[in-house]
């Protein structure tokens, strides 16, 4: 075992298991057999209900006919009274008492639907397994029936619009990219560090979620903030998403269950940004462009030739020409079996998503999963959850400022296949004729064809748990988890690769590897005890985790040998290599106390002690706490129309860990020279979020369930790399400090209802909405720019006292009065301003004398203090919402997910870049009245302005998106028999599924769902790979 400490823990856990194994009781007399039928509201059989005696850890699941059966060994049959509970997703749990004696007992269950799932059990962030109705914290559960209609490509997408307070942003459409998930806003001032912690089958996932197949997921529990996620201590401040994967425990006893699901779809782009159809060059009477001569009127309003007038230089939509409709396939197979207290579930899936770029094959993912549960005795069971996943992608050069961008900017008047005419022998020649290709940046197709990118990842994830319940009041469990990740990145350009000048290059080769090994072990004890109506649960835990990561990157850019793709064929003088090792280790102790008085008054308290090598040596130990309570009012008072009313409040803390290098004093090492870098900080603590939340959970009119939550958060000691005075620090540039306080307020609302429920028709929906406001209360550092997206332009300027997400830049004057603020205009009156200036058709104030001339330009606002970089936008939406609808008409199910935002602005760098090369539709003057036309330099020089941020490119980011729509038909048992499949086919479902079908927005770019750096605070449209539409057909067969 590589790590002796983790090894020792595993050994201890194994001994613990062996100890438990020595105490099985012997069978002596006749068993008790419990059997019966589970039916639904209309008397229909309910399949897949779990019937169990929880205190004995024994039970079974109902089959397609609703029947179930299980036995209790005679040694445990003592005439005692036990609770037999039936549970099924979407139904209220039903409990029946039974005096347990030898022989057969028939216990039938009639279940009622429970839209709000008050009886569902949650286990994350609570002392012991707790029914939703008895929770005191913000915990949301997403179940399989909410996510099964539209298989998602990543875990984040599954949550879109389903959980209030969870913002899911697909900032790029790049196949294989994970969506950004952010819960109740930010806890940091850096980019992309606001992701929640993912727990998979009880084990912290250290290596992201992109390699996990969401089809394996049966439920997710979401803890939204510090008051809920305190149990995760210094990993909880961004919230926690605990994922449970598919297991065999609910399968019918003794039968193998085999399911095959296959989906085949086509991709395309729903919306293209408007493009410029006119040229600024003189167009002759023959319709051909005189590329040497700019039209003296300076207006970009001359039509490009038709293909008949000039077969080489007519206008093409390069995006529509080259972005492709490709085929997506997603296949998923499961094999499950349960016999008595042994069950397993295996799955295999394969996803191939080529995306929309030409030439590339895109993203592929394969996953194997094997989950096993084994009851050793009625008091002891063990579980194993194992996953192997691998992904591959050849899209390394596509996203961001690379080939997609190149295609966006490609000149419209060239055939990119033969840009230099039919005689050019180089296919997709990288050299574009300079007279035509303004600011040529080469041919993106050449790069797509000749740069070989290869990204391979492998993931092994395992969770092994032993559970022992020696008494009814004590449960012990031990878990060992391992998360192993290998990544290889490889980029190759052959020797002879032509650059955009058409000059042969010596080639290049890059290899990068990243290996991560994370292990953790946990021991938990749960004590359940009670005194009359007071039930208490105490959980104590010890958690240890360590992680070892090493990265190596090598690069060389001069091949000595052609056509050899090996680093040893490279001129060693051009070779660079670097490597790094990151080791971390943490321990945590936890005590969680839950009190439940008669299911009316609920109280929970949590204390966590966290110690981590990531904290500075003088701040190694940190404590977190939580207190929460709830009152189920309707248990005490009858309120007409209300079936349930719960008031709850919670207050707690959770943290964030610094990055590996943050605490250390470091020197940079380059070219064999040392240079001072960061000053160490032995006092570096975790950032600590304090959260107070109040919530109302209500069920009323037998139909509606409403949760309303208000949360206030204060993240103290947020991390910041504080710049230092190099002179006064002796040469160090910066130091990581706990230097900021960020506050946030969130309102969340979730409404779930089954509007219509008839035997042949039902309609239900869930509506979630949220509003989050974030503010920088304290900044113990100078204000600073935050660069994100685009090409790193610092459009965010963080200052104490400001909201998070404010966009700064040049503001173009739209009101004459704004001119008077400029100190340089001292003495100017409004009348002066109006006599000198006028407004153009775009609403910008320009000099009268310049209007319509080549010199026309908007005027930059200067505030009374002389600042010309001012607030030009705010990315924070007024609210976001998700609306999931399910309509069932006999065997048909229609599912539609609509989500969107109101308010919040986007900075459109994509458009700004397109101004430089005259590609954006906004620069086209052909449709304007002569007096409204604006000269091309207004766009190309002033607004483009070397990508300096300005107010022209700030747009309203409101949108409504029909994100998912599916229609499926589930074959009934009778129909299956009728068509002759009934004997060997258990279930058959056909579906048509659409994703990203339609967006309603005023935003002019590809997609208002823009973001950057994995952070919803940076709504920047930075020529990312656009999200595309997929329409597919799906068949699912169960055997």
């Amino acid at each position: 075992m590589r790590n002796p400490r983790a090894g020792r823990l595993v050994a201890l856990a194994a001994s613990f298991l062996a100890f438990a194994l020595t105490a099985p009781s012997l069978a002596q007399a006749q068993d008790a057999v419990i059997k019966g039928t589970v039916t639904g509201p209309q008397g229909e059989p309910v399949e897949g209900a779990q019937i169990s005696i929880q205190t004995m850890l024994i039970g079974s699941a109902s089959n397609a006919k609703g029947q179930y059966s299980f036995s209790v060994s005679a040694s445990d049959v003592k005439g005692q009274t036990v609770n037999v509970v039936a549970r099924r997703l979407g139904f209220a749990a039903v409990t029946k008492q039974l005096a347990l004696s030898a022989g057969e007992h028939t216990v039938d269950f009639a279940m009622k639907q429970d839209v709000r799932r008050l009886d569902e059990i949650v286990v994350t962030g609570v002392a012991g397994a707790t029914e939703m109705k008895n929770t005191t914290i913000s915990i949301s559960k997403v179940n399989e029936d909410q996510i099964k209609e539209v298989p998602a490509q990543d875990i984040g997408t599954l949550l879109t619009g389903k959980v209030a307070g969870v913002e899911v942003l697909s900032e790029t459409g790049l196949p294989g990219a994970s969506a950004t998930v952010q819960i109740r806003g930010s806890t940091v001032l850096q980019i992309g560090n606001s992701s929640p912690t993912y727990i998979i089958d009880g084990v912290v996932s250290k290596n992201g979620i992109s390699t996990i197949d969401p089809s394996d997921i049966v439920s997710m529990e979401v803890l939204k903030g510090a008051a809920s996620a305190t149990t995760y201590g210094s990993q909880g401040a961004n919230g926690v998403i605990a994922v449970t994967t598919r297991r065999g425990q609910n399968l019918e006893d003794g039968k193998v269950q085999f399911t095959v699901r296959s989906e085949f779809g086509k991709t395309d782009i729903e919306h293209y940004p408007p493009l410029n159809h006119s040229t600024v060059y003189v167009v002759g009477t023959d319709g051909k462009i005189d590329y040497g001569n700019v039209d003296p009127d300076n207006f970009m309003d001359n039509p490009f030739p038709t293909p008949q007038q000039d077969p080489d230089h007519y206008w093409r939509n390069q995006l529509k020409t080259w972005l492709q409709s490709n085929s997506v396939t997603n296949n998923y197979i499961t094999l499950g079996y349960r016999k008595g207290n042994t069950n397993f579930m295996g799955s295999f899936s394969r996803l191939a998503d080529p995306g929309i770029m030409p030439i590339l094959s895109g993203f592929k993912r394969q996953n194997f999963r094997f989950n096993l549960d084994q009851g050793i005795t009625d008091k002891l069971d063990v579980s194993a959850s194992m996953m192997y996943g691998s992904t591959s992608s050849d899209q390394g050069q596509v996203d961001g400022a690379d080939d997609f961008f190149g295609l966006l900017q490609a000149p419209p008047d060239l055939d990119l296949a033969h840009p230099n005419g039919p005689a050019d022998t180089v296919l997709y020649d990288n050299f574009l004729p300079p007279d035509i290709a303004n600011n040529s940046r080469g041919n993106p197709l050449y790069d797509l064809l000749h740069t070989n990118n290869n990204n391979q990842t492998e993931r092994i994830f395992g969770a092994f748990t032993a559970r022992y319940r020696p008494t009814t009041w004590l449960a012990l469990d031990a878990t060992y988890g391992t998360d192993r990740y290998n990544n290889l990145d490889n980029t190759y350009q052959f020797s002879g690769y032509l650059n955009s000048d058409g000059v042969s290059q010596p080639g290049s080769l890059t290899y990068g590897t990243d290996r991560d090994r994370a292990n953790n072990a946990a021991i938990n004890g749960t004590f359940s005890y009670g005194l009359q109506a007071l039930k208490a649960t105490t959980k104590v835990s010890y958690l240890y985790d360590d992680e070892h990561e090493d990265v190596v990157n090598t690069n060389g850019n001069q091949f000595k040998l052609r056509h050899i793709q090996a680093l040893n064929a490279i001129d060693p003088t051009t070779f660079t290599a670097n490597s790094a090792i990151f080791n971390t280790r943490s321990v945590q102790y936890l005590v969680n106390q839950g009190l439940n008085y008669n299911d009316r008054y609920l109280l929970q308290g949590t204390y966590v002690h966290d110690a981590s090598s990531l904290f500075g040596t003088a701040a190694r130990n940190n404590d977190f706490y939580q207190v929460s309570g709830a009152w189920r009012v309707t248990q005490d008072f009858h309120i007409p129309g209300f079936q349930e009313l719960k008031l709850r409040a919670a207050n707690g803390t959770a943290g964030l860990r610094p990055a590996f290098a943050d605490q250390y004093e470091t020197y940079g090492v380059a070219n064999g020279q040392f240079s001072k870098n960061t000053l160490g900080n032995v006092d570096l603590q975790p950032a600590i979020q304090h959260e107070t939340e109040f919530g109302i959970d209500a069920s009323f009119l037998n139909r509606f369930d409403l949760d309303v939550v208000h949360s206030q958060r204060r993240t103290n000691n947020a991390f910041l790399q504080v710049p230092l005075s190099v002179a006064l620090s002796g040469g160090f540039q910066s130091q990581w400090r706990n230097a900021a306080t960020i506050t946030g307020k969130t309102w969340e609302m979730a409404l779930t209802t089954r509007v219509i429920e008839n035997p042949g028709f039902s309609y239900s929906f869930s509506l979630t909405g949220e509003q989050t406001r974030q503010h920088i209360d304290r900044l113990d550092a100078p204000p600073f720019q935050q660069n994100a997206g685009g090409q790193g332009q610092g459009i965010f300027y963080y200052k104490q006292g400001e909201d998070l997400g404010i966009i700064y830049g040049t503001k173009w004057i739209t009101d004459f009065r704004q001119l008077l603020d400029n100190p340089a205009n001292a003495g100017m009156t409004l009348a002066d301003a109006q006599s000198l200036y006028t407004k153009n058709v775009e609403g910008y104030v320009v000099l009268k004398a310049d209007k319509g001339t080549a010199n026309e330009q908007p005027i930059a606002y200067v505030d009374p203090s002389g600042n010309n970089k001012v607030v030009i936008g705010n990315v924070n939406p007024d609210f976001t919402f998700g609306w999931a609808n399910t309509i069932k008409v006999r065997s048909f199910t229609v599912y539609a997910l609509v989500s969107g935002t109101q308010g919040g602005q986007i900075y459109d760098f994509t458009k700004q870049w397109m101004f430089q090369d005259r590609r954006a539709g906004a620069v086209d003057q052909s449709g304007r009245k002569p007096e409204d036309k604006i000269a091309y330099k207004y766009y190309e020089n002033v607004l483009y302005n070397v990508l300096n941020p300005n107010s022209y490119f700030v747009e309203d980011g409101s949108f409504v998106k029909l994100r998912e729509l599916s229609v499926n038909y589930q074959f009934s048992d009778a129909l299956l028999h009728q068509i002759g499949l009934g004997n060997f086919v258990r279930s058959l479902k056909l579906a048509v599924i659409g994703r990203n079908l339609k967006t309603w927005t005023k935003y002019s770019g590809f997609d208002p769902e823009a973001g950057s750096g994995g952070d919803a605070n940076f709504r920047i449209d930075g020529f990312r790979y656009p999200a595309f539409r997929t329409i597919s057909g799906q068949i699912e067969i169960g055997f």
Binding site: R5, R8, L9, L12, F16, F19, A23, P434, Y468, T471, L474, L476, D501, V503, I523, G525, Y542, Y544, I581, F582, T584, R585, V587, Y589, A611, S612, A661, Y664, E665, T666, Y667, N671, G672, Q673, F674, S675, K676, N677, L679, P723, L724, S725, V726, A727, L728, S729, G730, G731, P782, P783, F784, Q785, N787, G794, Y797, P823, G866, K869, N941, N948
Partner: protein
């Protein structure tokens, strides 16, 4: 029985927890980057640190920031791109320096020299502390030589601060760091210059009569070894420059201690045999690379200002008024250096300089004397340039010109002054020799011509230093840069700036 079993289990769980709790060691070393303790632990580390310090200073002096912005502010070169702060710095009428932290090239043009010089200073101070602490033991020669090198960095780095900024911090090995602003405030440039001069004097004293030498790679001089004597001569020349170039205007220039300049120059790099250029050999852009020359000698990026071309050929305009190219008029040039150091490259159709950015940016000539630094074989191959040329920081000729000017300004030997000017005026330029008969004014004019033509694209900032002290900058051109906004924000000081000419906002130019 059950209670006993549960008790046993609890005890076992307790034991596990206790054991686990006791066994955790949460101290993990960072093996990816050294700390001071690791980086400065051996004599070799300190040698490397001292060598790094002088190389960091070289970067501060001859990298693209601020040398390219200062060269266009002086109308020595011209460039219209926003890169390196060029466009705004050469706008007409002049604009104030935008002293802010919003980033980009304008921020870098002040931040880079500030941070790079103080980084160099921090490295030199650390090296001297270690040397004074006895890291070289009994090896006094090594201690002396590396201390002299480190002191040279101290003088040069603080000297650069005094030359470029209106104020700065005086930091040396005796300053306890980190230190607060309240303990160590900013002081004005003459005070910084005096502190820098004291360090250069210390180098001169420490090298006098010494016979050690430092390894070539420490400072890869192009023609001579890095002996104690040569190090002292470099220090002397740099001291002469510092005294001569610190003045911000004609008045301060007249009041400068020219006698001191004379003494320093007489002992500088052009004084004794052999005269040598303070020039480094580039190593392919690895450590030793001169960004000023690489860009300053590359036509698509920068051109020679028409002010200089007009000096060489008065028939040419001193500034373009339209965006059309001008005929070469090769015959109008009498200076032989026109043929060797300059190239006529009419801008033509595919021009990099947009007319919309102002015709004053235009020039049809590029400086090509150090073309090798820019790749060697013309414009197209610049990006594959080898960057292995000889890159002068201070030519021997510059020392000659300082010497000559000091002679003129102290009422010294005008014939010797003329001889010193003619070292390049006649030898390279084939122009009419300067003579004592030209008088002080004539000789000063010849000196200025040589400074513009002969010293073009050598040391970063040189033309700006020379133009400001004779009041030769365009109205509103900053005569020094403010302390960068980033430093002011860190020290919680108000942000200020310099420059600007009406109708643009006007701030003091010094």
């Amino acid at each position: 029985m059950r209670l006993i079993q549960a008790g046993t289990l609890l005890a076992a769980a307790g034991a596990i927890l206790t054991l686990a709790a006791c066994s955790q060691d949460l101290t993990i070393p960072n093996t990816n980057a050294p700390s001071t303790k690791v980086a400065n632990s051996t004599p070799d580390d300190i040698k490397a640190l001292a060598a790094t310090s002088i190389q960091t200073w070289h970067d501060a002096n001859n990298e693209v920031n601020p040398s390219l912005a200062l060269s266009v502010m002086a109308d020595a070169l011209t460039g219209s791109f926003n890169n390196f702060g060029m466009n705004l710095s050469s706008s007409e009428p002049r604009l104030a320096y935008p002293n802010n932290t919003t980033g980009g090239d304008y921020t870098s043009m002040a931040q880079d020299p500030w941070y790079n010089n103080y980084t160099a200073l921090g490295e030199a101070n650390d090296a001297i502390r270690a040397i004074d602490g006895g890291i070289f033991g009994d090896d006094t020669v090594t201690a002396q030589s590396y201390k002299a090198l480190s002191m040279l960095t101290q003088g040069l780095a603080m000297g650069n601060i005094a030359l470029i900024f209106d104020q700065g911090f005086i930091v040396d090995e005796s300053t306890p760091v980190p230190v607060d602003y309240s303990t160590l405030p900013l002081v004005k440039y003459p005070v910084v210059a005096a502190a820098a001069l004291a360090k250069l004097d210390a180098v001169i004293a420490a090298t006098q009569g010494k016979h050690w030498s430092l390894p070539t790679e420490v400072l890869p001089l192009s023609t001579v070894d890095l002996t104690a004597e040569n190090l002292g001569r470099i220090a002397s020349t740099m001291a002469a420059r510092l005294v001569a170039y610190t003045p911000r205007n004609g008045t301060e220039n007249a009041a400068a201690d020219w006698a001191k300049v004379l003494t320093y120059a007489e002992n500088g790099i052009s004084a004794a045999n052999p005269a040598f250029d303070f020039a480094i050999i580039e190593d392919g852009g690895n450590l030793w690379w001169d960004g000023y020359k690489a860009y300053g000698n590359y036509g698509p990026w920068l051109r020679v200002s028409m002010r200089v071309m007009h000096e060489m050929n008065p028939a040419l305009p001193s500034e373009y008024t339209s965006c059309a190219s001008i005929d070469e008029d090769a015959a109008g040039f009498h200076d032989a250096r026109y043929a060797t150091d300059f190239t006529y490259k009419p801008l033509g159709k595919k021009i990099p300089f947009s007319c919309a950015r102002g015709a004053w940016h235009f020039s049809d000539w590029e400086h090509s004397r150090y073309g090798l630094n820019a790749g060697g074989a013309g414009d197209v191959t610049w990006y594959s340039g080898t960057f292995t040329g000889v890159a002068p920081v201070v030519l021997a000729a510059e020392n000659d010109l300082l010497w000559a000017e000091a002679l003129v300004r102290t009422g010294g030997d005008l014939s010797l002054a003329a001889t010193l000017i003619n070292n390049t005026r006649v030898t390279r330029g084939h122009l009419t020799p300067a003579t004592a008969v030209d008088g002080a004014a004539g000789l000063l004019a010849d000196i200025q011509y040589e400074q513009d033509v002969e010293l073009l694209t050598t040391g970063g900032g040189l033309q700006w230093y020379n133009r400001r002290r004779i009041d030769g900058l365009q109205t509103g051109t900053p005569r020094h840069l403010p302390v960068p906004a980033k430093e002011l924000e860190i020290d919680k000081l108000p942000i200020y700036t310099f420059g600007g000419a009406a109708p643009n906002p006007v701030y003091p130019d010094q």
